[in-house]
C-alpha cells in the first residue's frame, strides 16, 4: 500500500518571529546522533526512532518478514514472555509502539522522567534481544493472516493493492508489506532474526526526542539503547521510475460506494520546484474545503464526502496521488471532474488570489504544528529522514512565500500529466469506460 507520507506536513516549520522552538543536535560518546527539543515543564519524554529501509528490505520470496518481525518486538524479549513484557511497560506507565512502512521501521516511546532508565532498558531489550519464540510467532502470524484476510474485502486496500501492483510490479513497493497468506506461512524464525539484523541498524537510525530530558541524558540514553545493535544493513532497493497512462482500471467488488485511487509520477523533495509543487497541490487537492477538487466534486456537486491529492514522496519513487469515493452511479462523474481539474491546473495554473490564500494558510498553519512534545518529536525525526537542516524550521516559510505564480504555472505544466493519470476503481461503477481486472 502506498502510505500517505505527508512529507510536506511532517517537516515544515515557521519563519515567524515566534518560532520559540530550539532544536539541539546531540552526539553521544559512541557517536550516535539525535535532535532534541528540551521541554522540562511536564515530567515525561517522547522519543521517536526511525530506521531507514523498512519493509522494502524483505528478501525475495520472504515478503512480510519485516512486518512480522516488527509485530513480534513486543511479544517477548530477554527473560520476559509477551505478557511479562507488556506488564513491565504497564508498571512503568510507559508505552512503546512499533510500526513498519515501505521505507522505515518506526519506534515511538513515551515514558515518565521518574523511571526513564527502567523504560529505556525495557525498550532496548525489545530491540536487541527479541525472543521470537515459536508460540509468539504462531500467535502473531495468526494476527497478520487475519489482517490480510480482513484487507481482502476492504475497498481501500484492494484499490491500493491494484494501483501499486500496476505501477511498481516486482519492486518491493508493488506488493503489500504484510505479504500474502502463503508468504507469511513460510516465514521461519531464522527469517525473522535476519529481518531484524537487516532493518534495526544504527547507521540508518534517526532519533528525535522532546520533553523533560537533557542533551547529556539523551546521549547516554542512545548509547544504552543502541548497545548491541548491528551498525549496518543490506543495500537499499533501487530507485524506480513511475510510468503510467491515462487508464481507468476497475476492480469489481460488490459494494454500494466505489473507491478510486489515482496518480502518476511525482516530484523529488530535492527538486528546486518542490515548494512550488507543494503549494500547487495545496490549491488543487490539499486539505480543506478551499481546494479545487473539494470545491468542484463536493461543494458544487455533492458527489463525495471527501476528495484529496498529495505529493507521495517515497524514498525510492515519487508520485502525485489522490483518493475519492462516490456512489456507484456517481463515481464516473466524480472521475470526469477530477480529470478536468487536473487538466485545467496543468494548462492554466492558478490565480494570484488562490496563490496568496494558499501561502497565507501554509505559512500561518506551520507553527501550529509544534504544540506538544508528541508532535515535536515526530516533526524533528521526520526532518532528519528528509536530510533537512535544523535551521529549516526558520527558512521554510520563506521558501513558501518565495513561490510565484509563474513557478506554480511551470511546475503544474511539468508535473500534472492528464495523459498519464491512472485511476483504479473498486466497486460496481456505472458508466465508466475502463478495463476490468479481477
Amino acid at each position: 500500500m502506498i502510505r500517505i507520507v505527508l512529507t510536506g506536513i511532517a517537516c515544515l516549520w515557521a519563519a515567524s518571529a515566534t518560532a520559540a522552538i530550539d532544536i539541539q543536535e546531540v552526539t553521544s560518546e559512541n557517536g550516535h546522533e539525535a535532535w532534541l527539543v528540551e521541554e522540562p515543564s511536564i515530567p515525561f519524554v517522547n522519543l521517536e526512532l526511525r530506521f531507514e529501509g523498512g519493509a522494502s528490505l524483505d528478501p525475495e520470496g520472504k515478503r512480510g518478514a519485516t512486518n512480522l518481525m516488527v509485530g513480534l518486538l513486543e511479544e517477548g524479549s530477554g527473560e520476559m514472555d509477551a505478557r511479562a513484557f507488556i506488564a513491565a511497560q504497564e508498571s512503568l506507565a510507559a508505552s512503546f509502539s512499533y510500526d513498519v512502512g515501505d521505507d522505515m521501521v518506526t519506534v515511538s516511546a513515551r515514558f515518565l522522567t521518574e523511571n526513564m532508565d527502567e523504560a529505556i532498558a525495557l525498550l532496548r531489550q525489545s530491540l536487541v534481544e527479541p525472543a521470537f519464540d515459536d508460540a509468539s510467532i504462531t500467535r502473531v502470524k495468526g494476527q497478520v493472516l487475519s489482517a490480510i484476510q480482513a484487507d481482502s474485502t476492504d475497498p481501500d486496500t484492494i484499490a491500493a493493492k491494484a494501483f501499486t501492483a500496476r505501477v511498481f510490479g516486482d519492486h518491493p513497493y508493488g506488493s503489500m508489506i504484510q505479504g500474502t497468506a502463503e508468504s507469511v506461512e513460510a516465514i521461519t524464525r531464522e527469517d525473522l532474526v535476519a529481518a531484524k539484523e537487516a532493518a534495526i541498524v544504527t547507521s540508518r537510525a534517526h532519533v528525535g526526542a522532546a520533553g523533560d530530558i537533557s542533551a547529556e541524558e539523551l546521549g547516554e540514553l542512545m548509547d544504552t539503547l543502541f548497545e548491541g545493535l548491528p551498525a549496518d544493513g543490506p543495500p537499499l532497493p533501487e530507485a524506480v521510475e513511475v510510468e503510467t497512462e491515462a487508464d481507468t482500471e476497475i476492480v469489481p467488488f460488490d459494494t454500494p460506494q466505489s473507491v478510486a485511487v489515482f496518480g502518476h509520477a511525482g516530484i523529488d523533495r530535492d527538486d528546486p520546484d518542490y515548494f512550488a509543487a507543494y503549494v500547487m497541490n495545496q490549491i488543487l487537492g490539499g486539505g480543506g474545503f478551499e481546494a479545487r477538487l473539494m470545491t468542484e466534486v463536493r461543494e458544487k456537486r455533492g458527489l463525495t464526502y471527501g476528495v484529496y491529492s498529495y505529493l507521495a514522496d517515497k524514498d525510492h519513487a515519487d508520485l502525485v496521488m489522490g483518493r475519492v469515493a462516490s456512489a456507484n452511479d456517481r463515481i464516473a462523474e466524480a472521475i470526469e471532474v477530477i480529470r478536468a481539474e487536473w487538466r485545467r491546473m496543468a494548462e492554466e495554473g492558478v490565480t494570484q488570489d488562490e496563490l496568496d490564500q494558499a501561502k497565507t494558510y501554509l505559512t500561518g498553519a506551520y507553527p501550529l504544528r509544534f504544540d506538544g512534545n508528541a508532535p515535536i518529536a515526530n516533526i524533528i525525526v521526520g526532518m532528519q529522514t528528509q536530510d533537512l537542516d535544523p535551521d529549516y524550521v526558520n527558512t521554510r516559510n520563506d521558501k513558501v512565500d518565495a513561490v510565484t505564480i509563474e513557478d506554480v504555472r511551470r511546475v503544474a505544466a511539468r508535473l500534472l500529466k492528464p495523459e498519464e493519470l491512472l485511476f483504479v476503481v473498486v466497486g460496481q461503477p456505472e458508466g465508466l469506460e475502463a478495463e476490468v481486472s479481477q
Binding site: 458527489l303 471527501g306 494558510y361 500561518g364
Partner: protein, 457 residues
C-alpha cells in the same frame, strides 16, 4: 491526581514556572450572564489556541422521523449566515493559517478552530454569528444532503462492520434514541429538508445551551473579555426546556442477531450490555466499569486476552470497551475475533467461560495496581495536549456532568476497590440486558457446477 503529584514530587521541583502541573491547575471555568459556560485551559508552550463551541444537542435530541438532522445541520453551519457567504467561514479560518472542523455525537455537536492565539477574537466573532444568524437556501440543502449521503456510504454502507453495529445498537436500546444511528437512517436522511434543519437550529442553538472551550496560549481574563464581547450580547433562549429523552424500560430478555454479508472476511462475535453512565455526583459505578473494561480487555495482560489468545488460543484478538461519559445509559462491550478454524459459537463460549472464571476468582491485585498507576500517569501525559483536555471537558459538560465531576473523576478512579469491580461486573454482565451479535459471511452455496449431473467424456 494528587497521588501522582506526590509520587512525582522530586521531578516537579524542576518544573518551570508558568506551566500548569496538573489539569486542575490549567483549567478555569466561569459562566456568562446569558448562561453560556466557559472553560479555559492554559498552555503557554506554543502560540496556538483551540477555540471550540459545544452544543448540548446531538443526535439523541432529534425528534422521531428526522434521524441525522443534528449531523446535517452541523454540515449546514458552514453554509453561510446573514453576514457571511457559504464557505466563507472556512475560507477566513484558512486565510488566517488555521484549521477548522466540526463533529456530531449522540449528546453533543461541536465546532472548532485551531489558529494562532492572536486570531481568537475573529474566531469568536464568526462562531457567535453562526450561532444565531444562519441563512440557508434550498440549493445548499440539496447539495449538502448528497454529501451526507456519500458520507453515510463511506462510513456505513461500504462497511459490513458498521452496518452490523447499527443493527446491534438498535437492538440494545429498546426505547432510547441511542438506538438510532447518529448519521441517520438512510431513508430519513433522503427526506431531510430545510425546515427540519432550521427547527433543530432554532430549538437548540443558543448561548444557554452551549459551552465555550478555549485551550492554549491564553489567560482566563483575556478569554473572559473576548467572550463577553462576542458571545455576551447573544440572547438566551428562554424556551429551552429540560433535556429529557425516552428512557429504557426494564430489559428482560437477551437479544441475539446474526449479520451476514459477503464482504465479511474476518468474522467476530460482539456483546453489548446496557450499563450505567457517569452521573453528576455519582460516578462510582462508572469508575468501576471503566477499570473493569481494562481488566477484562485492555490489552495483552487482560483477562480475555490471557484466556482466549494465550492459553486457549481460540482468538486472534479480544477486547472490552466502555465509555461512561454519556447523558443517558451507556453500554459495556466485549469482542472476540476467533482464530481460523474456530467457530463463533466456540469463541462466544470461551468468552463466557472466561467471564465466569473471572467472577469466581476475582481481581488480580497486581493488575489493578498497574492500571491505577497508568491512570495516574495519564494525568501527566494529558498535559501535553491542551486540545485533548478541551475535549475531555466538552464531552463531560455536554453529557450532564459538572466541572466538579470532571475534577473528582481521577480520585474516584483511584478509590475503586476489587469489591466494587466485582459488584458492578455482577450487576452489568446480565444477559437479560444484552445483545450478542455475530458478524459473518453467508454460508457458501452449494457450487452450481456440482449440482449439475456429472458429465464425462
Amino acid at each position: 491526581m494528587r497521588i501522582a503529584a506526590a509520587m512525582l514530587s522530586a521531578v516537579a521541583l524542576w518544573a518551570m514556572p508558568g506551566q500548569a502541573q496538573s489539569i486542575d491547575e490549567a483549567v478555569t471555568t466561569f459562566t456568562l450572564d446569558n448562561g453560556m459556560d466557559v472553560v479555559v485551559i492554559e498552555d503557554n508552550r506554543a502560540p496556538v489556541v483551540t477555540h471550540m463551541v459545544w452544543y448540548k444537542a446531538g443526535a439523541a435530541d432529534e425528534e422521531p422521523g428526522v434521524s441525522g438532522v443534528a449531523h446535517f445541520l452541523e454540515h449546514l453551519l458552514f453554509k453561510g449566515t446573514d453576514n457571511m457567504e457559504p464557505g466563507e467561514f472556512s475560507e477566513v479560518v484558512a486565510a488566517n493559517g488555521g484549521d477548522d472542523n466540526a463533529f456530531t455525537s449522540y449528546d453533543y455537536t461541536g465546532y472548532f478552530q485551531r489558529v494562532a492565539a492572536d486570531r481568537l477574537s475573529l474566531m469568536m466573532q464568526m462562531e457567535a454569528d453562526r450561532m444565531v444568524n444562519l441563512n440557508l437556501d434550498e440549493e445548499d440543502i440539496l447539495t449538502e444532503r448528497d454529501v451526507i449521503i456519500e458520507e453515510r456510504n463511506q462510513r456505513v454502507e461500504n462497511s459490513p462492520s458498521a452496518l452490523f453495529g447499527e443493527q446491534r445498537n438498535a437492538a440494545l436500546y429498546l426505547n432510547h434514541p441511542y438506538g438510532t444511528p447518529i448519521i441517520g437512517w438512510r431513508h430519513e436522511m433522503e427526506a431531510l429538508d430545510l425546515d427540519d434543519a432550521l427547527a433543530f437550529y432554532e430549538r437548540h442553538y443558543a448561548p444557554n445551551n452551549a459551552i465555550l472551550v478555549v485551550a492554549g496560549d491564553v489567560t482566563p481574563d483575556e478569554v473572559r473579555d473576548l467572550a463577553e464581547e462576542h458571545y455576551g450580547p447573544l440572547a438566551a433562549n428562554p424556551e429551552l426546556g429540560p433535556r429529557e429523552r425516552p428512557q429504557e424500560p426494564p430489559q428482560t430478555a437477551p437479544r441475539r442477531l446474526t449479520f451476514e454479508d459477503p464482504r465479511v472476511s474476518q468474522p467476530y462475535v460482539i456483546r453489548s450490555y446496557l450499563a450505567p453512565e457517569r452521573d453528576p455526583g455519582a460516578q462510582e459505578e462508572a469508575a468501576a466499569l471503566t477499570i473493569l473494561s481494562e481488566i477484562l480487555g485492555g490489552g495483552q495482560t487482560s483477562v480475555l486476552s490471557r484466556d482466549l489468545q494465550f492459553e486457549e488460543q481460540v482468538a486472534v484478538y479480544s477486547s472490552a470497551f466502555y465509555s461512561g461519559t454519556s447523558y443517558d445509559d451507556a453500554s459495556f462491550g466485549l469482542i472476540v475475533v476467533p482464530q481460523d478454524g474456530v467457530t463463533l459459537q466456540e469463541a462466544e463460549d470461551a468468552m463466557d467461560a472466561s467471564l465466569a472464571r473471572f467472577l469466581e476468582e476475582g481481581v488480580d491485585a497486581e493488575q489493578l495496581e498497574r492500571i491505577k498507576f497508568q491512570l495516574r500517569a495519564q494525568q501527566i501525559y494529558a498535559l501535553d495536549s491542551s486540545g485533548g483536555i478541551a475535549r475531555l471537558y466538552g464531552t463531560a459538560l455536554t453529557s450532564g456532568l459538572g466541572v466538579d465531576d470532571v475534577e473528582a473523576w481521577p480520585d474516584i478512579l483511584q478509590a475503586v476497590t476489587e469489591e466494587d469491580i466485582l459488584s458492578v461486573a455482577r450487576n452489568v454482565l446480565d444477559l437479560d440486558q444484552s445483545v450478542t451479535g455475530w458478524l459473518m459471511a453467508p454460508e457458501p452455496q452449494a457450487d452450481a457446477a456440482e449440482a449439475q449431473p456429472e458429465v464425462t467424456q
